[in-house]
Amino acid sequence: MTSNTIKFIYKNEIVKIYNPDPNETILNYIRIKLKKTGTKEGCAEGGCGTCTIVLGELKKGNIIYKAINACIAFVPTLAGKQLVLVEDLVSEDGSLHPVQEAMVNHHGSQCGFCTPGFVMSLFAMYKNHSFYEDDVIKDSISGNLCRCTGYRPIIDAAKSLNKISKFDFFKKNHQLFISLLKKIKHENIVISNKNKKYFAPRNVNELKKILKQYPNSKLLSGGTDVSLVVTKERKDLDSLIYMNSIDELNYIKKNNNYIEVGATTPLIDFELFIKKYFPDFAQILKRFGSIQIRNVCTIAGNIATASPIGDTLPLLLSLDSQIIIKDKDKTRILPLNGFFISYRKTKLKKGQFIHSIRIPLLGKNIFKAYKISKRIDDDISSVCASFNVELENNKIKKIKVAYGGMANIPKRAVNCEKILLNSPLSDNTINKAKKSLEKDFKPITDVRASQKYRMEIAKNLLEKCFQEIKQKKLIRINI
C-alpha cells in the first residue's frame, strides 16, 4: 500500500498533489503555487517565524493545531494534515478572526512583515489553550521576531484574547474537518520525482526495508539541519526518509528504571512529560527552540545531528542515557557517552536508525542544567552545562558532568568528575573541579562566545550548580 500522492485538507476540501518535488518547501508551494503571499520568507532557516503556518493534526479524535515554520518543511510532509494560512483566518464576509482583530486593536503591527507569523502563532495558542497566561503567551511567540513594533503591544493583544469567545470558524466546522482528516488514508508514501526520492514510511518495518535499499538516504524529522541543505546551500536532497510519519515511534513510556522516548516523539510532548522528573530538562527544552521547532523536532534528530551545541545532548550525557539503534536485522543498545566521534560524526552507520532513547530514572540524584545564550529564547547556546549529582553525608557519591559548546562534540568532563567523585562538598572541591575543566576542554572562539568567556562560564556554571545544592535553592534569573 504505497502512494505517490500527497493528500491534505485546505479550506473545506481534500487537496491532492501528485508526485510533488520532495525538495519544494511548503513556503514556496504556498507562495508560488497557491499564490497566497501572506506567509513571508524571512530567514529561510526556521529562526524568525514570519513563515509560520498552522497544521491541524488528528490526535485521539480531536484536532491539534500546531504552528510550524513553512520555510524548512517540505511539501510531502503535509500528508494527512489540515493546512491553515493567515488568509484563511478571515471569514468569507471579510471579518477578521478574533486573533487578527486583537492585533489590530492593540497596535500589534508596524511594518507588518512579521505580523502574519505572529498571527499564526497566536492562532495556534488560541486553539490549544483555554487561558492565556503570561508564560503561555511568551512561549507561543518566542519563535517570532519583530524588529519594529516591539513585543509589548503583541503581548497585550494576546492577553485580550482571554476575554473573547472561543467560537470561531474552525470550531464551527470542527466536525467537518475531523471527518475530512479521517477520510485521508495513512499510506506509505513513495515519491520519485526526476532524480529525487522521498519516502514517508508508516511503520518501522517499512523504514527498515527502505533503509536497506537506499542506505544513503537522509533521515528527516524537524529539518532544522537537513532542510538547510536545500534552503541555504541550494543543493538537492536526492533521497529523503521522513521519520515523523512513523506513529509507532511516537511514544514515551516509563518503567521503574527508565523513561523511553521513541524517535519521532516531538519535543513539545516530551517537554510536558519530563517536567515532573527533571524540571531543568523541561526548562532547557523551552529554550531549545521555538514552539514551531519543538512541534516537529525530536530528541533522536538532535542526537543524530550531533551538533556540539545541540541542547539536549549534554543533558542526556549527564543522565547516562542510552540509545537504541536498529537496522534491518539487529538491535543495539549503546551508551550515548562515546556515541559522538568527532564534529557532527556519530557511530550511526549507513542503514541504521535511532529507534528510541532511554533515560535512566534517578534515585536520590540531583539533576541540574543551564544554558547560556545571547538571547533567552530562540537562540543557540554559547555554553550548555548539565550535572547529575548524588550526595551522601555531604560527600559526592556519584557525579556526571557534561557540556555543550565547549568542544567539537557534546562531551563529559571526565577530569572534573574525577576531582568531584568521593570528595566532600566544599569550596575547596568546587574550586579544584573548576580548575580541572581546563584539562577537559579547549573551547574555541566564534560568533557566539570567545574561548575565554566559554571557559569562565563553564566554571561558573559548575559553581552555580554546587551553590544551589549547598544552599538548597535555585539561583536563576532567567525563569
Binding site: T37, L96, Q100, M103, V104, Q110, G112, T115, E233, R234
Partner: protein, 214 residues
Amino acid sequence: MNSNSFVMESRPHESGTKHVSGYANYIDDIIEPEGTLYGAIGYSKKAYAIIKKLDLREVWKSEGVVSVVTSADIPGRNDVGAVHDGDPIFPKKAEYFGQPLFAVAATSTELARKAVLKAKIFYKTLKPVIDIKEALRKKLFVLKGRKIKRGDPSKKINKVTDLTGAGDLFASGFIHAFVNKMGLEKALQLGTRSAAEIIKILGARPKEKLSGLL
C-alpha cells in the same frame, strides 16, 4: 477635546487590517506578469578584499539563467550614492561582508539563487580597520569634513554668560501637562510659563517647583 482631533485618541494602524490578514502586498508578493525573470545577487564572502577575479562561467551555465551582470556591464557611473559618491553598485574592492558583486536573472527565484552560489570568486584579502582610533589615525573618513560659518563668531561672542534653557523648559512643561492628559491648551500654557520662568534666572535649572505654575 475637540471631536475633530485625533490627538490622544487611540487609532488603529491604517494598514493594520491588511497586515494581520496577509493581504498587505510587499514587493515580493505582487503577482508577476507572464515571463518575469527573477534576480539574485552574488555577495562578497570577505569583509575587506580586492576582487581579483570573478569566474562566472558556471553561473552562466546554471539552469534557468538568462543573464549575468557585473560591473563591466554598467554603461554609466558605477555608483548609486544619492548625495555623495562612494556607493558602487558592484565594487572592485569589497568593503563589507555581503557586498553585492554581481547579479543573475533567471526563470525562477530558486534557480537564480542556486546559480549565484556557483560563482568562483578570487579575493586578495586586506586587513580591515575596525576600530575608531585606528580609523582616525589613518584618517579614514567616510566623507570630507565640512564647516558652515558666516562671519567670525569668535569676534562677536566673547563670553557665554548663560544658556537659557527656554526651549528645554518649554518642552518639559508641555510634555508634563500633555502626558497627564490636561489637554492641549493647558500643555501650551505650562510650556510657555516654564520657559518664561527659566529665562528670569541664570542657569537652566529652575529654583522653584514648576508644577506651581498651573
